[in-house]
C-alpha cells in the first residue's frame, strides 16, 4: 500500500499540464475554476471566520482584559495576566469547579464505556429482535444534550420522584438525590452513563470487524470464552476503545446542560454540580466578567488538548491496528 503512493519523480500528475505560466492570469480556465471553488467554499469560509476563528482570537485577546460584556470594545482595559493569576491563585470556586469536573469525568467516563462495551457484546449476537434492542439502547444518547431529558431526570430523582417510589416498594427509604449535595453529582453521573448509546454503536461496528477466523483459531488452541475476549476481542477492538475514550473524555469534561438544568443554572446545591463549563457560563453571563471567563475558556481548551495528547502518547502501548504494524 505504501508503495503505490510513494512520490514518483518520473510521473507527471494529472493536472500538471495545466500549470503552465502562460495559461495563468485572469480569464483563464484555471483562474475561473479557482474563483468557482472560492464561491462554493465561501459559506464555509465565512462560517469558519465569523463564528469560529475570529471569535476565538477575540476571546484570546479578551482573556487579557477586564471586558465585562457591557463596556464597548474600545474602552476595554488591558490587564495582562491578571485574569490567569486570579484563576490559579485567588479563586477558590475555580478550583472547586475543576475538582467537580475531574471527579465527574474520572468516574462517569470509564463506567459509561464499560456499559457501552458490555451491552455491545450482548447485542452483537444474532438473535431475534436484536435490531429493536439496539435502537432502544441507542435512543437515550440521541436525546443527548436535551433539556427535556434533564428535567425528566430531576423529577425522577426528587425526594418524591419515581426512583424513590421504586425503592419504597422494597422497603428502602430514598434520599432527595438531586437536592442532596452529597448525591447531586452522582445523579448526573448516572444520567451520563445511561446515555451510552453512541459509544455502544461504535463498539458494535468494531466488533463486527473482528475476523471470525481469529476466534476459530483461538478455540482450536483451547481458549475459553474469557480468554478469547481478553486475547482476541480486546486487542482487535483497541483502536475503537481508544477512539471512544478520547471522544467521551472530551464530552465528559464539557458536561453542561444537565448540570445547568438540575441546578437552575446555579451549580447548587452548595456548588456540588458546579461543572467547569457551568462556572464559566455563570462568570461570563451572570457576573458579567467576560474577560475572566475567556481566560477560563482558554485554560480549559489547553487542558483538554493536553489530556488528549497524553492519550495519544500512551495509546501506542496498548492500541493495536490490524494491519500488523503496531504504531
Amino acid at each position: 500500500m505504501a508503495l503505490t503512493t510513494a512520490p514518483d519523480p518520473t510521473r507527471r500528475g494529472p493536472g500538471s499540464g495545466r500549470a503552465h505560466p502562460a495559461r495563468r492570469g485572469p480569464g483563464t480556465i484555471r483562474h475561473r475554476e479557482g474563483l468557482a471553488a472560492y464561491v462554493f467554499l465561501s459559506p464555509w469560509l465565512i462560517g469558519l471566520m465569523g463564528v469560529t476563528a475570529i471569535p476565538m482570537l477575540l476571546s484570546l485577546y479578551l482573556s487579557f482584559t477586564n471586558y465585562d460584556i457591557l463596556t464597548p470594545f474600545s474602552e476595554v482595559e488591558w490587564v495582562g495576566l491578571a485574569n490567569y493569576e486570579r484563576m490559579f491563585t485567588a479563586d477558590p470556586s475555580y478550583w472547586h469547579a475543576v475538582r467537580v469536573t475531574l471527579t465527574f469525568a474520572l468516574i462517569a467516563v470509564p463506567l459509561k464505556l464499560a456499559a457501552a462495551l458490555g451491552v455491545a457484546l450482548l447485542l452483537n449476537r444474532a438473535w431475534r429482535g436484536v435490531g429493536l434492542f439496539r435502537g432502544l439502547f441507542y435512543l437515550p444518547s440521541l436525546l443527548g444534550g436535551s433539556v427535556a431529558l434533564a428535567i425528566v431526570w430531576v423529577n425522577m430523582f426528587n425526594r418524591d420522584g419515581a426512583f424513590n417510589s421504586l425503592l419504597s416498594l422494597v422497603g428502602i427509604e430514598g434520599r432527595p438525590w438531586v437536592n442532596d449535595p452529597d448525591w447531586a453529582l452522582e445523579t448526573l453521573m448516572v444520567l451520563a452513563i445511561w446515555q451510552f448509546g453512541a459509544p455502544m454503536v461504535i463498539f458494535l461496528a468494531g466488533l463486527k470487524q473482528v475476523p471470525t477466523e481469529l476466534y476459530e483459531a483461538a478455540s482450536v488452541d483451547g481458549a475459553g470464552r474469557f480468554r478469547q475476549f481478553r486475547n482476541v476481542t480486546l486487542p482487535m477492538l483497541s483502536p475503537v476503545i481508544f477512539f471512544n475514550l478520547v471522544l467521551e473524555t472530551i464530552n465528559g469534561f464539557q458536561g453542561f446542560t444537565a448540570a445547568f438544568v438540575l441546578s437552575n443554572g446555579t451549580g447548587g446545591p452548595v456548588d456540588s454540580t458546579l461543572m467547569y463549563t457551568l462556572n464559566l457560563y455563570i462568570t461570563g453571563f451572570t457576573e458579567l466578567q467576560m474577560g475572566y471567563a475567556s481566560a477560563m475558556a482558554w485554560v480549559f481548551l489547553l487542558a483538554i488538548a493536553a489530556i488528549t495528547a497524553i492519550f495519544f502518547s500512551t495509546g501506542r502501548f496498548w492500541v493495536h491496528y490490524s494491519d500488523g504494524e503496531d504504531r
Binding site: R11, H20, P21, G34, M49, I69, P269, F285, T286, E287
Partner: protein, 448 residues
C-alpha cells in the same frame, strides 16, 4: 488531494509564488468583512445623537421585557394604545421568561444591538448604569417630559445611581410574606399578622408544623431580601456606599436564628428549602405544598395564586415593618445609544402617567407609581388578587421607612454567595459562624 507536480520545473516554482497571492488577498478580504460588519452596525447604533428631527417621522422602537403571557398581552395592548395616539410610532416587542433574560440583554448590548427600551431590576440597574449603558433621565425629568410629580419621592429616587436617574420605576412593590390561608382555617390555626417579632413568627411556624405536618415556614436564610429587612431592623443595611453594610457577626446571628428554627422543625429539611431557594414562582414552597409560608415580593401574589388552589394571604415580613420600603418592582430604562431616545422616554412617561394605559396594565408590574392613577386603578378593579395586592401595599405604605440605596455592582454575585453560604449551614456542612465568615469574605471580593 492536490495533483502531483514535478517539484523541480520552473512552472511549479512560478505557481508557488503566484497562486497563494489571490488566495491570501481573498482571505484577508473575507476577514476584513467579517470584522468590519459588526463594528459598522455597532457604530450605526451608537452614532446618532438623539431624537428624530421631525416628530412625525416614522419611528420603530424596540422594547424588551421579562414576564409571562399575561404581562405580554397587557403590555402589547398598552403599546397599541400609544400607536393609536402617535401613528408614526410602532413597536418591535420581545419578551421572555426571567430565566436567561439578563444573559440575553447583556449579549444584545455587547453586540451593539440593545433594545431602545428595556425592563430591568435593581439587581442589574447599578451594573448597567455604572457602565453608562442606560440613558440619564434627569434632564427629561427636569423638563417635565418625564413626569414624576405624582410619584412617591422615594420611589423614583430608588432609580438614581451615582446621581443619575438610570431607570424609572414601572411599579411599586415591597417584601411580602405569603401564607396558605386555607390550610390555617382548616386546622383552626391563627393567621400570622404584620408586626409579629421574628421569634413569634418562628414559634407560630412551629405550631403549624405540629398541627398540620406541613412545615410552617420556608427558611429564608438564603434569601437576600429577608436578610436585608432583618439587617435594617438591627440598624444595619445591605450596602453602605460601595461597602457592605454589615459584618460577619451579623450574618452569623441571622444564620443562627434559622438554625434554631430548623432545629425546632418550624421549617422543612435542607433539600426542600433548597427547592424553595429558586427565584421561580412555581417552585415557591407555599404553592408546591411543602411549606405554609413563602418569602416573596408582594406583587407576585397573582402569579402565585395561579399555581395553587388554596387561598393565600400576604403580610409584611416579621419585625418592625418600617424596615421595609417602597421598592421599584422593576424599572424601564432607555439605552443610551438609542436613536429614538426621546420617543422611548415619552413611551415610559405614557406607560406610567396615561390613565388609560395605567388602567390597562393594572398591578402586573406592581402598584402604579403614579399615586393619582393608583387610586383610579384600585377603585376600578374587580379582580380579587389585584384588590388584595393593592390593599396590602396600601396598608404597608403607611409604615414604610426610607428607601435604601440601589444595590451596587456585584450584587448578583453577593446574592448567589448568600445562597451558597446559607445552604452550607442548612445542610450542616458548616456552622453558622463559619458560613457567615465565608460569605462576607466572598462578598468582599465580589464588590471589590
Amino acid at each position: 488531494m492536490q495533483p502531483a507536480t514535478p517539484p523541480t520545473t520552473d512552472t511549479s516554482a512560478g505557481r508557488r509564488h503566484g497562486a497563494p497571492l489571490p488566495r491570501r488577498r481573498l482571505l484577508s478580504g473575507l476577514l476584513a468583512v467579517t470584522v468590519a460588519a459588526p463594528l459598522m452596525f455597532g457604530a450605526a447604533a451608537c452614532g446618532d445623537d438623539g431624537g428624530a428631527a421631525d416628530p412625525s417621522d416614522p419611528v420603530k422602537l424596540s422594547i424588551f421585557w421579562w414576564g409571562g403571557d399575561a404581562r405580554a398581552k397587557l403590555t402589547e395592548d398598552a403599546l397599541a394604545l400609544y400607536t393609536a395616539k402617535h401613528p408614526n410610532v410602532t413597536f418591535e416587542t420581545t419578551w421572555q421568561a426571567n430565566q436567561g433574560y439578563f444573559d440575553k440583554l447583556a449579549t444584545l448590548t455587547a453586540g451593539g444591538n440593545p433594545p431602545d427600551l428595556f425592563q430591568i431590576d435593581d439587581n442589574y440597574l447599578a451594573e448597567y448604569a455604572a457602565r453608562s449603558t442606560t440613558l440619564d433621565l434627569t434632564p427629561y425629568q427636569k423638563s417635565a417630559k418625564l413626569d414624576t410629580s405624582k410619584f412617591p419621592e422615594s420611589l423614583w429616587q430608588y432609580g438614581v445611581v451615582d446621581g443619575k436617574l438610570a431607570g424609572l420605576a414601572a411599579g411599586e412593590n415591597t417584601q411580602g410574606l405569603v401564607y396558605n390561608k386555607t390550610l390555617l382555617i382548616k386546622n383552626n390555626l391563627p393567621e400570622p399578622t404584620t408586626g409579629m417579632t421574628w421569634e413569634q413568627h418562628i414559634a407560630w411556624a412551629e405550631q403549624v408544623t405540629a398541627a398540620t405536618r406541613m412545615p410552617g415556614t420556608q427558611d429564608p436564610s438564603a434569601d437576600y431580601k429577608a436578610l436585608w429587612v432583618w439587617l435594617r431592623q438591627q440598624g444595619k443595611d445591605l450596602y453602605k456606599g460601595k461597602e457592605l453594610g454589615f459584618s460577619a457577626e451579623d450574618v452569623a446571628k441571622w444564620f443562627e436564628l434559622w438554625k434554631g428554627a430548623r432545629d425546632r422543625r418550624a421549617t422543612p429539611s435542607a433539600d426542600v428549602i433548597h427547592e424553595g431557594n429558586s427565584s421561580d414562582v412555581t417552585k415557591q414552597l407555599v404553592v408546591t405544598g411543602k411549606a405554609a409560608t413563602s418569602w416573596v415580593w408582594a406583587n407576585q401574589m397573582p402569579d402565585l395564586k395561579k399555581n395553587t388552589k388554596d387561598e393565600l394571604g400576604v403580610i409584611a415580613y416579621p419585625g418592625d415593618p418600617s424596615a421595609q420600603w417602597a421598592r421599584a418592582s422593576m424599572y424601564w430604562s432607555v439605552f443610551k445609544g438609542s436613536k429614538n431616545r426621546d420617543v422611548a422616554v415619552d413611551v415610559i412617561n405614557f406607560l406610567n402617567n396615561d390613565p388609560e394605559a395605567v388602567k390597562l396594565l393594572g398591578t402586573d408590574r406592581g402598584l402604579p407609581s403614579n399615586l393619582d392613577l393608583r387610586r383610579l386603578v384600585s377603585d376600578g378593579t374587580t379582580d380579587p388578587a389585584m384588590k388584595q395586592s393593592i390593599a396590602v401595599e396600601a396598608e404597608l405604605t403607611q409604615k414604610f421607612g426610607p428607601s435604601p440605596q440601589v444595590p451596587i455592582k456585584g450584587h448578583s454575585k453577593v446574592k448567589s454567595e448568600l445562597i451558597k453560604a446559607a445552604e452550607n449551614a442548612q445542610y450542616g456542612r458548616a456552622t453558622p459562624a463559619q458560613a457567615a465568615a465565608q460569605f462576607v469574605e466572598a462578598c468582599k471580593s465580589a464588590i471589590a
